[in-house]
Symmetry: C2
Subunit: 358 residues, 2 copies
Amino acid sequence: MYVVIMAGGVGTRFWPVSRERAPKQFLNIVSDRSLIEETYGRVAPIVKEENIFIVVNEIYRKIVDMIFKNRHVQILTEPYSRNTAPCIGLAAVHIKIKSRNETLAALPADHFITHDKAFQKILLAGAKAVEKEGICTIGITPTYPETGYGYIKRGIEYKLVDGHKVYKVDRFVEKPDIKDASVYIKSGEYLWNSGIFIFNVNTILEEIKHHLPSLHEGLKKIERAIGSNSYPKILRKVYENLDSISIDQGIMEKTRGHIYMLPGNFDWSDVGSWKALYDLRKGDYDPMGNLIDGEALPLDTKNSLIYSHTKRLIATLGLKDILIVDTKDALLVADIKRSQEVRRVIEHLKKNSKKKWL
Amino acid sequence: MYVVIMAGGVGTRFWPVSRERAPKQFLNIVSDRSLIEETYGRVAPIVKEENIFIVVNEIYRKIVDMIFKNRHVQILTEPYSRNTAPCIGLAAVHIKIKSRNETLAALPADHFITHDKAFQKILLAGAKAVEKEGICTIGITPTYPETGYGYIKRGIEYKLVDGHKVYKVDRFVEKPDIKDASVYIKSGEYLWNSGIFIFNVNTILEEIKHHLPSLHEGLKKIERAIGSNSYPKILRKVYENLDSISIDQGIMEKTRGHIYMLPGNFDWSDVGSWKALYDLRKGDYDPMGNLIDGEALPLDTKNSLIYSHTKRLIATLGLKDILIVDTKDALLVADIKRSQEVRRVIEHLKKNSKKKWL
């Protein structure tokens, strides 16, 4: 079994801590390890080190080299970030060259998962389910009507693998509004889309050929160049002309019939905002419900997140539901319920050419 | 006429900008000049430079020297801050030595006043009113029921000086609760206590002798040492044993009969909190009612004060009535309506020996 850790993101939702130079997957916001290290650590016990591929934008190559300097992982760089379909395709052709038709699990680098053991069991069951054919995804049993996630509608029960029920996927659903999300939760038939997919190399390349023919053409060129001196040049040229498209939109939502889902029974979050981070670190709250990381003096302050990357003292007085993120050169103070709008700050900075804060 | 600018405060209400090393009177929070410079500039047109005394704690001597390096003002230092009664007494004995029985106006260094011309007229009228006897204070016609100020109840109309009505003072009232403050405002008989007092030297020393005999004893010792080498030593020894007491509590509230009041018809604030500063700088608001001083990017933010002493970017999102004060080594984020409680931060820092942030 192979694993591809997709670390291509240039996320901006954790500004001002996440910057163009340090996107979310490299931040140690949920533990003392970065999210990409957590993801690696979660699969390392069940996959050989050299079978773990990390796909990353070339501008982060040095960071990844540093993080994994003592590990024999395979690092693939992308000259441009083109979302998950090209990322998975690139890994697939490299694995194909190495060892023909292997099973491959593609994992986002920057998600949060508890219960590593449960996760590993599901992943192994998923790999077994698609050994011969098909694509398997992991659905997360939802606990509330989140509008920031995509959903997967469960189809009929298809088979049993090592005691795990494998369902057919009825359909993938885009992020719903709160009304639809509530209906989904009540029905019990909808699970959160974790963005984790398992398939064998031939299957995914066939799917790409069928649904994304121009990506397939590009991947053929890349495949032929692997091992040659012209590889970097060809990779760049192909990527330059690729469309940005996710594996979800490009393939999963179009393919019918042989997509399966394993329900995941572990806590999961895509850590998509400061609020999401606050929610998933409940265990670290102070008695007033504050999540505090740094030197802080909170007076009459509750349900707030104070996150500091400096040695400065942060004193607060009479706050509720406030997000404070302090870095060396930028400070964010926001209503924590609106932390998904942090991208608006980025947009303003771009529009006003204030690049040094991006 | 002499003026004493009382700059002895070691205020903490503008933390983290005001520190032990830089109390409020030395901050340029209302304009591009510090409050003490504003106060000086307000009297300089009507009083000779060398007749302006600045009384300051000795730890701020260097700051004052720097601010007034091109002015022939008289600087008196106190080895300990003992509130306004000793401060005024000290100035009085120095002036007595210089020129017998002069009229003297004592002004807090750190108040905000608009309309310098109106202020100067009132001050001159006050000086004229107490040329021979009595103590004159300036009452500010209140515009709302402020609970952070003391009040003065107006007595009968006593005389007319240069067209200004001079009233007898009925009594001084401590900071009221909101109910009493509202009653005061409605009655029209109560004015805000500005902390400005005018009297001649002999009168104030007589009052001190009567109401604060131990202070009077100390001042006698200091007076005898003026001009000698032992002055600093004696000053320190006397101050060491002085009680901290305000001129209001020590004398004004006890004296009956010859205390007068001139109503001031200018905008005035004791700038006693960040909220007070926000209120008095209405002219500087952005269209959303924010007062912004520094590099800020306020999104959906209203009625907030963002004050930065750094070059860091402060981005805000979805805030209302929030105070953000950013300095190199400390940050304050608070409900602006509770900015008077900033002293609680100071108390915590003292209690926990975090002196570097005081």
